[in-house]
């Protein structure tokens, strides 16, 4: 029913990685572990006759080894290509035919699938998910289909979008060793070279009960649900998932810069800093730093660059919070006649201020109030809450961090923010990409100068 809405998101992919930061205080989340290692997380809520069911696998592009980038994206496509009992399209047909909607996504840390349905359809979804978890079988033809699909998506969403390559460039600039450096879609050459044996081995290693969790939020009965899940899922054979090798990104030794020349009339600067993992205590003051700079029209960057200096047309940013250390990103689209270099300089000056001048009590209170509003905003629907549970369970390692996030944010002091600024927002931790209008004598679209 919604009309088409045009969104101007420059760092779309980065924003997609961000899940809202805050906890919720609905009924308690119940955890139940099956004998085969599969975890069931449930939150009963009868405020609407809907239920969200999501199956999370603890695997993302960060589990891909060099030369095998994109293999998880291929497996995620395979998962949607049906089983011998329910061929491709049947899952969606049954769910939609019953009034529900489906969901599928893969990112850096996680891969997940599911549906949001009327509560009377919960059993159907559980049955279909049990079938998928047990019976999806890698096949060579499916590998080819998945690969074609990814190539087409890359063409549409990366290669033919003006700002499409920005995220890939920023992450590959900021990370040298950690697999966050490569795109979720993988590098095209790796996708071509992946063998069927590698594809099958990766799928079997990660897409199994002991590496998964089922999240159910909404209108159901907890005890009945436990019994049904046990009946449907416990007999699915599981094997231990080897603990992935922990790859730690080496400390950055100095600022990294890249210039992209593309067909845009508007120069743009994108600045990223490494930040702690979502489970690190420092994430709370870093979130406040980000909000101080980027929150609405009273954020420091907007006030300085857009309102006062009029050098920028638009300021925004993103907290890319991940299982391993992620990035905080700021960007500015420059006003006519203003260079990206000027935008970079002004952003850095505002960041420097945060290292010495404490936030006033009023500014700090403002950031904390917004934290609370955003938390409620992010926990309105059953689907949103299920996503948060799955995300926190695997990336933060527990749900306690999710449940006390507002409280933790309320406890952040101005001194902690200064300390975090001096620890994380430093030049040697920084990567900068500037996007400059290409003139006729320049290289082709997408060329870059390092």
């Amino acid at each position: 029913m919604k009309k088409t809405e045009i969104k101007y998101s420059i760092i779309l992919t980065a924003v997609l990685f961000i899940l809202p930061y805050f906890c919720f205080a609905q009924s308690q989340i119940q955890e139940f572990r099956l004998d085969n290692g599969l975890v069931l997380l449930m939150q009963e809520d009868h405020s609407s006759p809907l239920v969200a069911i999501q199956v999370y696998y603890h695997v993302g592009s960060k589990n891909e080894m060099p030369g095998l980038t994109g293999i998880n994206a291929l497996c995620a496509k395979l998962y949607q290509k049906g089983t011998p009992h329910y061929p491709a399209g049947e899952y969606s047909r049954i769910i939609q035919g019953g009034g529900g909607a489906t969901l599928a996504a893969n990112d850096l840390d996680l891969t997940y699938f599911g549906a949001k349905v009327s509560s009377s359809q919960l059993d159907t979804v559980l049955f279909l998910e049990a079938d998928r978890m047990q019976n999806v079988e890698p096949a060579y033809e499916k590998l080819l289909l998945a690969r074609d699909e990814i190539f087409r998506e890359r063409l549409t969403y990366i290669d033919n979008q003006l700002y499409g390559p920005l995220n890939e460039e920023l992450f590959s600039l900021a990370y040298r060793s950690h697999p966050y450096s490569h795109p979720i879609y993988g590098w095209p050459v790796d996708l071509v070279n992946v063998t069927f044996e590698e594809f099958r081995a990766f799928f079997r290693q990660y897409y199994q009960p002991s590496n998964a969790a089922i999240i159910v939020v909404g209108d159901f009965n907890t005890e009945q649900l436990k019994k049904k899940v046990k009946l449907l899922f416990e007999k699915i054979i599981s094997s231990p998932v080897p603990t992935p090798k922990k790859i730690i990104e080496p400390e950055q030794r100095g600022e990294r810069k890249e210039i992209l020349l593309i067909s845009s009339q508007i120069p743009l600067v994108l600045i990223g800093y490494h930040i702690p993992a979502i489970s690190d205590r420092d994430i709370y003051p870093v979130r406040m730093l980000y909000r101080a700079l980027c929150l609405g029209t009273t954020g420091r960057l907007y006030r300085r660059l857009v309102m006062t200096e009029k050098s920028s047309l638009d300021i925004n940013g993103a907290m890319v919070e991940l299982e391993d250390p992620g990035l905080v990103v700021f960007y500015s689209s420059m006003n006519y006649g203003k260079s990206a270099t000027l935008g970079e300089q002004q952003i850095l000056e505002e960041i420097e201020r945060l290292k010495t001048e404490p936030l006033s009590p009023a500014e700090l209170e403002k950031l904390k109030n917004r934290t609370e509003v955003d938390y409620y905003r992010a926990t309105q629907s059953a689907e949103q809450r299920a996503s948060r549970i799955g995300y926190y369970y695997f990336t933060a390692g527990n749900l306690r961090l999710m449940n006390n996030e507002v409280e933790m944010a309320r406890g952040v002091t101005a001194e902690e923010i200064i300390k975090a600024a001096n620890k994380y927002l430093i030049s040697s931790n920084r990567s900068v990409i500037t996007l400059q209008p290409r003139i006729d004598s320049d290289l082709d679209k997408g060329s870059k100068l390092k």
Binding site: H85, S118, I266, R377
Partner: protein, 463 residues
């Protein structure tokens, strides 16, 4: 294990049957609400929900891009952003400071033909303050010269960015081909050169013409005491004065005598955006429910719609393809659109036309029709799940010229539509001669093969 699986398969079918039976029954889609009008004509809807200590509001002006004055395409966006740039009692800094200090969020949604929407979310304790600032923004905006110039520059930059999005470019071009440069033919985001020419006096005139209580509605959803909300709204919005008659909007269009293809040339593109469509009818019209069902079967249903199934799942020709029907007060468009590698473009266009033809010439099965009805019932239920969703959807229905309980009536109408009726609606609206296609890609590569399908012209594209 196999035996167990067979048992489970039977159980599954039982579940599907039960689900269909349940959903086909009466489900309350629209939450209970209270509606009243102030003496000045402001339409007010109150929906109480106490699950969270928050309130969501939607302040609707029932005019959008179709009401932009001649030579000022983009005015509706400039003014909607200016509302937050200062009022009589709150200079720009103070207004933004107040909203931010309480953690409140205000968004403008303005990429519509008939709607400018201001959406807010905030904690319940701040109701009085939020309604006070909202009434100031609607009734007493100051529109400073500095604010007008700053916002114009920002909107113009957004337009430049939008003009790099192929999906947006072809949709705008299709509207323009049917509706011309007036009314519904006006760009949803505006034209850079026209935005630059807008003056403060133009903004004030537009505000006087359209920002009127009789052209507005306020929807408040969330955790509040209705007596208090009613009193506050009466106190704060009663001084809003009615104006002269709202100028009419043109949704008149002209239909070509045969199917044609326009290529918007961009030699740099390695994938093509395409759109095929024609004007339809507004919500509330007799055939609208049938068009909603046709839309689902054709291309709204994701992986199970006919377009997706044939062109993506079975052939792998396109990255995405979907259909849509625009909800507008006047005649919006019914169209299919997508993106594919350049070398597949003519085949995708040809197959899309074939699928449209089948929908017109062959009755859909009862099963396919039933599934569409059940899916849409579930979707409407989902749209009204959250406070934010309720306020936005209700505003959207009002801007489309239908009552807020229209989804309930729509679902009842679905039950009266059988495959024969659906076929007659398809015959009426999917006439191949009335369709037009716009593609955005390299003309030298695309024209030879597209010319074999229909007369093809090349027009300048956005580079």
């Amino acid at each position: 294990m196999k035996r167990q699986f067979s048992t489970l398969v039977l159980i599954s079918f039982a579940f599907v049957f039960v689900t269909i039976t349940v959903l086909a029954g009466e489900t309350q889609i629209i939450p209970p609400f209270e509606r009243f009008a102030l003496p000045n004509g402001l339409d007010v809807i109150l929906v109480e929900r106490h699950a969270q200590p928050t309130i969501s509001y939607a302040m609707l002006i029932k005019s959008g891009s179709a009401s932009d004055p001649a030579g000022m395409s983009g005015m509706h966006i400039v003014i909607s952003r200016l509302l937050r740039a200062g009022t009589k009692s709150y200079p720009a800094d103070r207004l933004a400071g107040i909203i931010d200090s309480i953690g409140g969020i205000i968004e403008t949604k303005n990429f519509y033909k008939d709607e400018i929407l201001l959406k807010g979310e905030f904690l319940s304790r701040d109701l009085s303050l939020v309604l006070k600032t909202l009434s100031e923004m609607m009734i007493y905006p100051t529109f400073t010269d500095e604010g007008v110039e700053r916002l114009k520059a920002r909107v113009a930059s957004a337009v430049i960015r939008a003009q790099t999005i192929g999906e947006f470019i072809v949709r705008e071009a299709l509207y323009n081909r049917f509706y011309g440069d007036k009314g519904y033919g006006r760009s949803m985001v505006g034209e850079v050169e026209q935005i630059k020419n807008i003056t403060r006096a133009d903004v004030i005139k537009f505000h006087n013409d359209y920002f009127r209580p009789e052209n507005a509605a306020l929807i408040l959803v969330g955790d509040y005491k209705p007596d208090k909300a009613r009193q506050l709204i009466t106190d704060l919005f009663s001084s809003w004065e009615q104006g002269r008659k709202i100028p009419p909007v043109s949704s008149a269009y002209s239909i070509p005598d045969s199917f044609r293809i326009a290529i918007m040339d961009n030699p740099q593109m390695s994938a093509t955006n395409f759109i095929i469509g024609c004007p339809a009818v507004p919500p509330g019209s007799d055939d609208f429910a049938g068009l909603i069902l046709l839309n689902y079967i054709l291309g709204q249903g994701g992986g199970i719609s006919r377009l997706d199934k044939d062109i993506i799942n079975e052939s792998g020709l396109a990255t995405y393809i979907r259909s849509a029907i625009d909800w507008s007060k006047g005649n919006g468009m019914f169209y299919l659109s997508g993106n594919c590698p350049n070398y597949n473009t003519s085949e995708v266009i040809r197959r899309s036309l074939d699928i449209l033809g089948e929908l017109r010439d062959i009755r859909v099965s009862q099963k396919e029709l039933d599934e569409a009805k059940i899916f849409l019932r579930g979707q409407y239920l989902s749209l009204f799940e959250t406070s934010s969703g309720i306020s936005e959807e209700m505003a959207f229905l009002l801007s489309s010229g239908v009552p807020v309980d229209y989804p309930t009536k729509l679902l009842a109408t679905f039950e009266q539509i059988d495959p024969a009726r659906l076929k007659s609606i398809a015959e009426k609206y999917l006439n191949p001669d009335h369709l037009t296609a716009v593609v955005y890609g390299p003309a030298s590569l695309l024209k030879p093969s597209l010319s074999e399908i229909a007369p093809t012209e090349v027009v300048p594209g956005k580079q």
